[in-house]
Symmetry: C2
Subunit: 256 residues, 2 copies
């Protein structure tokens, strides 16, 4: 059973990359085979795992025919079933190069076809836009996981994102479902956070994951060591909250 | 003396919009005539001032010939010299529509030409990408103000941004200067924040503003009331830090 999940929100800095790395690593620690595909030209997911970006094989290299997809897959000795296909700066060129193609939205989906069956989960870390790369990811995905920091701008951002999802479901990918909404960077002491979470819960109660990811400095420190938080400081609230998110995801799968 | 400053960083969620609104409002409180131009299709700056986006005249409306630039300017009774040209969802269409134009990078600059002399400062709030809208803003600007949250991904992001600035200086806008780097969302208690600020200070000491914007919940609450922080809670550390940033900017101008 292989599932491609796009981690997407056009609002910037809401924990997309942190979720791709830490939810991915937590599932790998639970013996699931996991691949993270970094589709953001910022290449933060790649940097966060210590990869020397722009110097290795990567997603753009596969597009440009410089390497096969197998050659673009990197593994980690500490967590052997956790793989990544890195990004690079030239990936931003893809937005321009694909624009002229007939099937400009299917590059990521087609690229992953040949390897999808070797993984239980493939997470697509997307850039903070609704541009061609993100639409490519949504076209390729089985579901979308929305990370949300519960602050004012999040509410309008969610409505926009839902509009985009509906449009993608209506044309490029009818099977795209919503995996759910994960609240991230949550400071429970703040009234604003509670109010926004209540507001979202009023409209979309069935979409919200029970696991809430707290603000925890270990999650921000871990990428500077090139590791997911469970390898950096496994007992931190950041690492343990992603572990429970992984378990919640697995439980949901079993019920379906 | 009129100056166009682009507030830019492709890293998401680092206080670009919050800086455009609060630095702008602080300068207006100091009797400067200020215009904020929201060039981000997310329209957060517009939302943060309580504007009903998609229902009013806006920047895309000027491009599409639906209204004049004067008709797209909104004012606030509480702070009469603080104006905004709002964004809208259809602004994301501009990326696609402009792509075919010969002078695709000069739309924003040309649009502002006729009104530039009526303001002391024009701030361009840009989206979290280095796409066509952001390049348009850099082509139109006299200088760029970089907001940075001192965390791991900020360092690589800054190098990328400086590359882009050099490219713009080499072609579209030779006069583009760097106004400086402002650290935002800073939690002084965190070792990571201090380390990243020290690192940036090692390489670019002359670029860093002395004023540091602390993490302060009033800055995140103010947009839900449609106001800049100085009108929401003027004594908060968030509001006062933007006031000192405004004074530091004015002092620098006088020295030049
Ligand atoms: N739960 C958390 N606690 C503390 N820091 C966090 C947490 N989640 C993310 N961060 C930090 O906050 C910043 C933003 O997170 P991240 O880069 O994952 O967001 P993003 O949505 O991927 O951003 P972008 O929109 O730029 O791609 C990073 O510096 C990250 O290390
Ligand atoms: N100094 C601060 N203290 C507390 N909260 C802040 C501060 N600055 C910004 N925020 C909040 O953090 C979030 C991100 O800030 P903001 O939206 O201004 O960043 P941005 O760089 O414009 O994001 P984007 O990349 O999506 O355009 C917002 O919810 C904002 O209200
Ligand atoms: Mg990211
Ligand atoms: Mg913004």
């Amino acid at each position: 059973m292989s599932k491609i999940i796009s981690i997407t929100n056009q609002k910037g800095g809401v924990g997309k990359t942190t979720t791709a790395l830490n939810l991915g690593a937590s599932l790998a620690a639970a013996e699931k085979k996991v691949l993270v595909v970094d589709t953001d030209p910022q290449a933060n997911a790649s940097l966060g795992l210590g990869i020397e970006i722009d110097k290795t094989n990567n997603l753009y290299g596969v597009f440009a025919g410089r390497c096969s997809i197998q050659q673009a897959i990197f593994t980690f000795p500490d967590l052997p079933v956790f793989h990544i296909i890195p990004s690079s700066r030239d990936l931003s060129g893809l937005e321009v190069e694909l624009a002229g193609y007939e099937d400009k939205f299917s590059f990521i989906g087609e690229t992953l076809n040949s390897i999808k069956s070797s993984y239980d989960y493939i997470f697509l870390d997307t850039p903070p836009t609704l541009g061609l790369l993100t639409i490519n990811a949504l076209a390729a995905a089985d579901s979308i996981l929305v990370t949300m920091q519960p602050e004012f701008y999040a509410l309008d951002g969610l409505n926009r994102l839902l509009d985009t999802i509906r449009r993608v479901q209506g044309s490029l990918n009818q099977a795209l479902s919503i995996e759910g909404i994960v609240f991230t960077l949550v400071d429970y002491r703040l009234r604003l956070a509670r109010e926004v979470m209540e507001e979202v819960n009023k409209f979309f109660p069935q979409l919200i994951f029970k696991t809430i990811i707290p603000r925890n400095i270990r999650l921000a420190e871990a990428p500077s060591y090139g590791k997911p938080a469970i390898l950096y400081e496994a007992t931190s609230s950041g690492a343990t909250s992603y572990m429970s998110l992984a378990l919640e995801l697995l439980e949901r799968e079993q019920k379906q």
